[in-house]
């Protein structure tokens, strides 16, 4: 007879409530990994969607997401004519903040040349840019709709939403948006007229508005990423960062802090869960000490008693894990940023839960093994 199961069956409500409590705790642990994986996926969504082989940026910099890069616009033409390059597109990146009606909106804006590399992927409604000015494609996570006007720049020029993408955000979590390169350059480099006049009056030349941040390069079939990158570096005095490297910079530097932050928090959570699970199992065992003494009295070997405690601990941990997973699956859609639950992470958490339950039951097992059969005789 499985004593652990019988005890659970007899005390269904107590077990259910305990599993719910443990489940909520484990739910938070699962959510934490989901938030981390979500941030990672978000950070990589943009470079992956752009599908470039090389990112050409200002010399000795690591690319547009890691640090500022400013190169002349004609770089795109120069690169395009190099051997091994099939296509190239000039792009700019910047964060813009504005209001649509009463609602504040923050966007990570990419400027690109229509018809060249760098345009929005996965458009789910509307279409890409068709005109050279004042059109914008935004991600649905911005909450904007087709046909809405988004005022941008010092003069609040109205940009009309013509297309929507899904699941495209910056590594900081801001929704992506795409405008024509010329618009983007004006937004990034143009200064208000008063400031421009002051700059001229003080004898400085007005800043150029034709610069770009990076050139995306796609190679022709058979061309070597390494060789082309080396050529670009040597002849054009630019850095050419392969896509894989760009991704690793993103994961390494941009979200490294987040990883450490979440890692620490996970550690604290796991420790707290371990203590709580241990306490619960210990309490459940202490509640059963009299039954355990009786079992010894009628002749049950320690093996039967230990199995009862350990199985119950595992049942509690696994049910809690299941409850936590279901809870998070239910609420993950309401998180402001992507919560991505990976099977690999679940398996790791499951392994940790199992170890914690086994370790946690040791305290209870110790108390159970020490109890004297004669205690079954104590009246009460």
């Amino acid at each position: 007879m499985n004593l652990a199961l019988r005890d659970v069956r007899r005390n269904k409500l107590r077990f259910a409530l305990t599993a719910l409590g443990v489940g909520m705790l484990l739910g938070v642990v699962i959510a934490m990994t989901g938030i981390y994986e979500g941030a990672l996926a978000d950070a990589l969504a943009l470079p992956r969607a752009l599908r470039a082989d090389l990112w050409v940026v200002q010399q000795r910099t690591f690319g547009p997401f890691a640090e500022p890069s400013r190169i002349p616009r004609d770089t795109r033409e120069l690169i395009r004519r190099m051997p091994g390059v099939a296509a190239a597109g000039a792009v700019t990146f910047q964060t813009v903040q504005t209001r649509v009606g009463p609602k504040p909106v923050r966007l990570f804006l990419e400027g690109y040349e229509v018809g060249r590399l760098g345009g929005p992927a996965n458009i789910i409604a509307g279409h890409g840019l068709t005109e050279s000015h004042y059109q914008i494609v935004v991600d649905t996570s911005s909450g904007l709709h087709l046909g809405e006007n988004v005022p941008l720049g010092p003069y609040h020029d109205p940009y009309t939403v013509v297309g929507l993408t899904r699941g495209m955000v910056s590594s900081g979590g801001d929704p992506m948006a795409w405008v024509n390169l010329l618009d983007a350059q004006a937004l990034q480099f143009a200064v208000p007229p008063a400031l421009e006049r002051r700059e001229q009056a003080s004898g400085r030349s007005p800043p150029t508005t034709t610069d770009i941040n990076a050139v995306l390069v796609r190679l022709s079939p058979g061309a070597s990423v390494k060789a082309v990158a080396a050529d670009i570096a040597r002849w054009k005095h630019l850095s050419a960062v392969p896509e894989a490297e760009e991704e690793s910079y993103l994961t390494l530097f941009v979200i490294q802090k987040m990883q450490q932050q979440l890692g620490m928090f996970m550690g604290v959570l796991v420790a707290v869960s371990a203590v709580i699970i241990t306490l619960i199992i210990y309490t459940l065992t202490m509640d059963k000490l009299r039954s355990i003494a009786t079992l010894k009295f009628i002749g049950a070997p320690d093996r039967v008693i230990i199995a009862m405690i350990v199985q119950q601990a595992l049942a509690l941990g696994l049910s809690g894990f299941g409850v936590g997973l279901v809870l998070i699956e239910q609420v993950k859609g309401y998180f402001p940023r992507r919560v991505q639950i990976e099977t690999r992470d679940l398996l790791i958490i499951l392994a940790i839960v199992t170890v914690v339950c086994l370790a946690g039951s040791m305290l209870g097992v110790r108390a159970a093994v020490k109890v004297n059969a004669a205690e079954a005789l104590a009246s009460g």
């Binding site: 007879m1 004593l3 009786t294 009295f297 002749g299 070997p301 079954a376 009246s379």
Partner: protein, 244 residues
């Protein structure tokens, strides 16, 4: 073992010079002093005496729950104590040879009546299915219907009957009962004594019952008195029907 004795006269419990003390120095309590006792198969023996005289301690020593301080003890023809326990698997010995009945029923609260009995059999190695069937048959024999009830849902008398059923589940040759009728009215106490008498006869078991209950004294084959840890005398109670 004395082969010349008929089967139902075999000694099941034999104690020689068994002593037990708790504590030492000032705090020393001599709970059992030089106990000599034999209980034979089929015998139902009563044990009486004032509170603290060592009755429960004697039962616990026979049940190998408490280790004696000195002496010699043989259970079911097998020496188990001779200055020290001679077996390491005392729980196994209890499981197969000894049935215990407590004053409070001591059933496992999370098992049903049937399961409580079946568990004792499963622990002794009987297959789950068979254990269940035999448990149900046993409850039937005890006129119990509420097989799926939990101990907390049973009356005191019913719970005690389930406990007795559990104690005899593995057909033990020795049954030890510590005030089994204390929480019961005289009718139910009589029923419990009927059961114990029947088991002693049917299973050739030696039954040793601690009791203060004078209304059942006449049910015993022998009544042993204890005082201050010593056996003080023995009487064969007169059956009420035979009394003048």
């Amino acid at each position: 073992m004395d082969e010349s004795l008929p089967f139902d006269r075999l000694p099941r419990v034999e104690l020689r010079a068994i002593s037990k003390h708790f504590g030492r120095g000032e705090a020393r309590v001599d709970a059992l002093v030089d106990i000599k006792l034999t209980v034979r198969a089929g015998e139902v023996v009563g044990l009486r005496g004032p509170s603290g005289c060592g009755k429960s301690t004697l039962l616990n020593v026979i049940g190998c729950v408490t280790e004696p301080s000195s002496g010699w003890m043989q259970l079911d023809g097998e020496p188990v104590y001779d200055g020290r326990f001679l077996r390491s698997d005392l729980r196994r010995l209890r499981l197969t040879k000894i049935g215990f009945i407590f004053q409070t029923h001591n059933l496992l609260p999370f098992l049903t009546a049937t399961e409580n009995i079946a568990e004792a059999m499963e622990l002794a190695g009987i297959r789950r299915h068979e254990a269940r069937e035999r448990a149900e048959a046993l409850l039937d024999y005890f006129d119990m219907r509420q097989m799926r009830a939990y101990p907390s849902e049973l009356s005191g008398g019913m719970a005690q009957r389930v406990a007795i059923a559990r104690a005899i589940a593995n057909s033990p040759h020795i049954i030890l009962a510590d005030e089994p009728t204390a929480p019961l009215d005289s009718v139910r106490a009589g029923a419990v004594m009927d059961l114990l008498t029947r088991i002693a006869a049917d299973q050739h078991a030696a039954v040793l019952v601690v009791t203060h209950d004078e209304s059942i004294f006449h049910r015993f084959d022998r009544l042993i008195g204890m005082r201050d840890g010593r056996i003080e005398g023995e009487q064969v109670p007169a059956h009420p029907a035979l009394a003048p």
